[in-house]
């Protein structure tokens, strides 16, 4: 759409634009968007996951002509969306367990094949805990069988529902309830990391992508791309958590944007196990911009900033920038 008309005013980055034709607008700009995750859910102020979920599911709904079934792992999204007697979901939705969303989705997909409903598509969704930790086995199995499921991970980098404990997606130095900011090396360890998008690619599934709530059009495009493909697909969405990260609710998108603009969270797409595209950084910023507005990193600053470890984090960002060519 950007080609048809240049939006130097609104950029190609706002949700919509009064000058665009309906079919060129983002799904979220649509007055008749499905609001798959409806108002009245119990998410915290400024919840990135609630935002990411509506973005992703609405986009998938549009891409499938509303023929969508969602499976949800246990976690914030499940708890805040479906506390009896109310549900915020507008689509057929099932929650089973913490660690089995991918497998349940495989079952739903198998049922659609058995019923001959090739038009009905299946999404599984979970947080980073349910995806990168406890649900990892089922996820890998679903990938390996190449079941017709899009798995979406909403990554807020810790177990938020249980009170902010460390997950294998928690970044180095971050403070959580189980990696407190005390002692000689406060916060989370500088481990080797667990790059699930990369692990997904190693299964050579047809489509893998990373996305951020700060780049809506990019996110919607990726979900749309994913729904145009059959087989196992994986989209990893970065969703800040004000409560767990100690950030201001109004900064949710800002932080997500900084994660991208620093290079800490590279946005890319991969087909059949190979990276095919990456979203360039628009205005590169140093990681300190990102770190300093989150209390979970407060111990890196304060009276005597921990330049050593901040430097290590900057290295990670620079590595991503080089690896994915984010400044090209």
């Amino acid at each position: 759409m950007e080609e048809t008309i240049k939006f130097y005013q609104t950029g190609t980055f706002t949700v919509g634009n009064r000058l665009l034709k309906e079919d060129q607008r983002s799904v979220q700009a649509d007055m008749h968007r499905t609001n798959s995750l409806n108002s009245g859910h119990r998410a915290c102020q400024g919840c990135g996951e609630a935002l990411g979920a509506r973005y992703a599911i609405d986009a998938a709904m549009q891409a499938t002509g509303n023929q969508l079934i969602a499976v949800n792992a246990t976690g914030c999204l499940e708890v805040f969306s479906t506390p009896y007697p109310e549900t915020s979901w507008q689509i057929p939705w099932i929650h089973s367990l913490f660690g089995n969303a991918a497998a349940v989705a495989s079952g739903v997909a198998a049922a659609q094949r058995a019923l001959g409903r090739t038009d009905v598509r299946v999404i599984a969704q979970g947080g980073d805990g349910g995806t990168t930790d406890i649900g990892f086995g089922c996820l890998s199995g679903m990938f390996e069988r190449n079941d017709d499921v899009l798995y979406i991970c909403y990554d807020n980098e810790a177990y938020m529902n249980t009170g902010v404990q460390r997950s294998s997606a928690t970044p180095p130095a971050a403070r959580t309830a189980t990696t407190p900011a005390v002692g000689p090396s406060p916060g989370n360890v500088f481990g080797t990391g667990k790059n699930v998008p990369r692990i997904a690619m190693a299964h050579r599934i047809p489509y893998v992508a990373t996305a951020s709530v700060s780049n809506l059009r990019d996110l919607e495009r990726k979900v749309k791309n994913a729904m145009e493909i059959h087989g196992a697909r994986y989209v990893h969405i970065f969703v800040p958590c004000p409560l767990g990260w100690g950030s201001a609710p109004e900064d949710t998108i800002k932080i997500a944007r900084l994660a991208v603009e620093t290079g800490l969270f590279p946005l890319f797409e991969a087909h059949d196990g190979e990276v095919t595209a990456s979203t360039p950084i628009r205005h590169k910023v140093p990681v300190t911009e990102y770190l300093k507005i989150q209390k979970r990193y407060a111990h890196l600053f304060g009276k005597s900033p921990d330049h050593g470890r901040i430097g290590l984090i900057q290295k990670m960002a620079d590595h991503n920038i080089a690896k994915y060519g984010l400044l090209n």
Partner: protein, 417 residues
């Protein structure tokens, strides 16, 4: 049609006749032959519009089954032993969501020590998961119970386990009567889900339920099983009518009407028990037996009916509630509350230990003389136990018990019984 075939294969044929649409398979002895059989039928195109899914774990097997069942198709899987424990969380979940999944359990012991042979510890560990548990006495019954299980599960919206003794039944070649597709279709109507993930009529399944409604949800689950107490005999009767065989039901009595001593047991061991009963009857003993087919729901009333006139009840269990004794015994005692009689718990056949006529005969005679302990371990090798106890009392670092015992017994292991 009569056939001489393996128990697992007979069950596979029965399941296929029930037209399942999704089957999840993960290998574990001794259940494996069943899903292998079904996999072959799907590949060979004998079982049509059925998705056969090779999953990466039992946990995934039950999870895939949950998804498929919630999406409105007839779903089946099978497992044993450690496998059932590994899927435990999903087993409870399937029942909590009221999904009519049917699962075969090839009953097998639970480690450690790891042991692939038969006992009932696996099913028993899930006895309160909210599933209906039916125990098969013979391969014919195992076959028949699967056909009844799907109908039962779907009428109640409640998952059903069909339990059959590992190896003793799963691997035994026996004569079975395999019904025709027409017969089964006439008995088992197509699946009409009570709740379904449908884009035309969306719902949210699996809500977070707090204190304000949780008790009610649980009560309704309990109520389902109470309904099953009525439904199981009806379905068995309907089955008899259609297939001309007695299979299933809540319990089955054998020469127990006038018995002073009644042996209660689950599963295949009942055959051997009945042989011994006949023997002893022919010699004048007033002994009989009762086979429990439906362990969940537990048939308190009919059991009371069957046992109340006896002088003593011997509960023969293939599992052990460590630190207590019997598991089945508890239910039996509850069924007899306020009735005064001698009750004995006998733990037998753990980890595949053969239960022989000779041992049973000795046991029952002791029982008739009321010379049994409250809890008796059949054919327990006292020497081995006391030697090991003594060894442990002597040294602190005594090493692994199981291995120590094997060393002492030596190669007799390849012997018989």
């Amino acid at each position: 049609m009569l056939k001489q075939t393996e128990g697992s294969h007979a069950v596979a044929e029965a399941v296929a006749l029930c037209r399942p649409q999704v089957i999840c398979a993960y290998p574990i002895t001794p259940q494996t032959h069943i899903v292998e059989g079904l996999g072959e039928m799907v590949k060979a195109g004998e079982l049509t519009n059925c998705e056969f899914i090779n999953v990466e774990s039992e946990f995934a097997a039950m999870s895939v089954a949950i998804g498929a069942s919630a999406a409105g198709v007839r779903t089946y899987t099978a497992t044993s032993s450690q496998g059932l424990l590994f899927m435990a969380e999903a087993v409870y979940n399937a029942a909590g969501l009221g999904l009519p999944i049917v699962m075969t359990i090839g009953n097998r012991a639970i480690g450690a020590p790891i042991n692939i042979w038969n006992d009932h510890s696996d099913s028993m560990s899930m006895r309160d998961a909210g599933w209906i548990q039916l125990f098969a006495e013979t391969n014919q019954e195992a076959l028949d119970l699967h056909i009844q299980a799907f109908r039962l599960a779907e009428e109640l919206s409640c998952p059903v386990m069909v339990c059959m003794d590992g190896f003793i039944l799963t691997h035994a070649y026996d004569r079975v009567d395999v019904p025709t597709q027409e017969q089964v279709d006439a008995y088992l109507p197509p699946y009409q889900p009570r709740q379904i993930l449908d884009t035309a009529d969306p719902v949210s399944i699996g809500a977070l339920v707090g204190p304000e409604a949780f008790t009610e949800v649980r009560y309704l689950q309990h109520h389902k099983q109470l309904r099953a107490l009525g439904l199981i005999p009806q379905l068995a009767a309907a089955f008899r009518e259609r297939f001309g065989r007695d299979s299933g039901g809540l319990i089955r009595s054998y020469r127990a009407e006038d018995a002073e001593t009644i042996v209660v047991a689950l599963g295949s061991v009942n055959g051997t028990v009945q042989e011994v009963v006949d023997e002893m009857r022919s010699e004048g003993s007033l002994i009989g037996s009762v086979s429990i087919c439906s362990f969940r729901p537990f048939p308190l009333a009919v059991l009371r009916e069957a046992l109340q006139h006896a002088k003593r009840v011997v509960v023969l269990e293939k599992c052990l509630a460590v630190g207590l004794g019997g598991i089945v015994s508890d239910g039996v005692r509850k069924s007899l509350s306020s009735i005064v009689l001698n009750g004995y718990t006998v733990i037998a056949g753990l980890g595949g230990r053969a239960i022989t006529r000779a041992s049973l005969r000795r046991l029952f005679e002791d029982a008739e003389r009321d010379e049994l302990e409250q809890v008796t371990f059949l054919d327990l090798n006292a020497d081995v136990v006391s030697y090991e106890l003594e060894r442990e009392s002597k040294a602190r670092r005594t090493g692994p018990t199981a291995e120590a015992i094997l060393r002492r017994i030596g190669t007799v292991a390849s012997g018989i019984g």
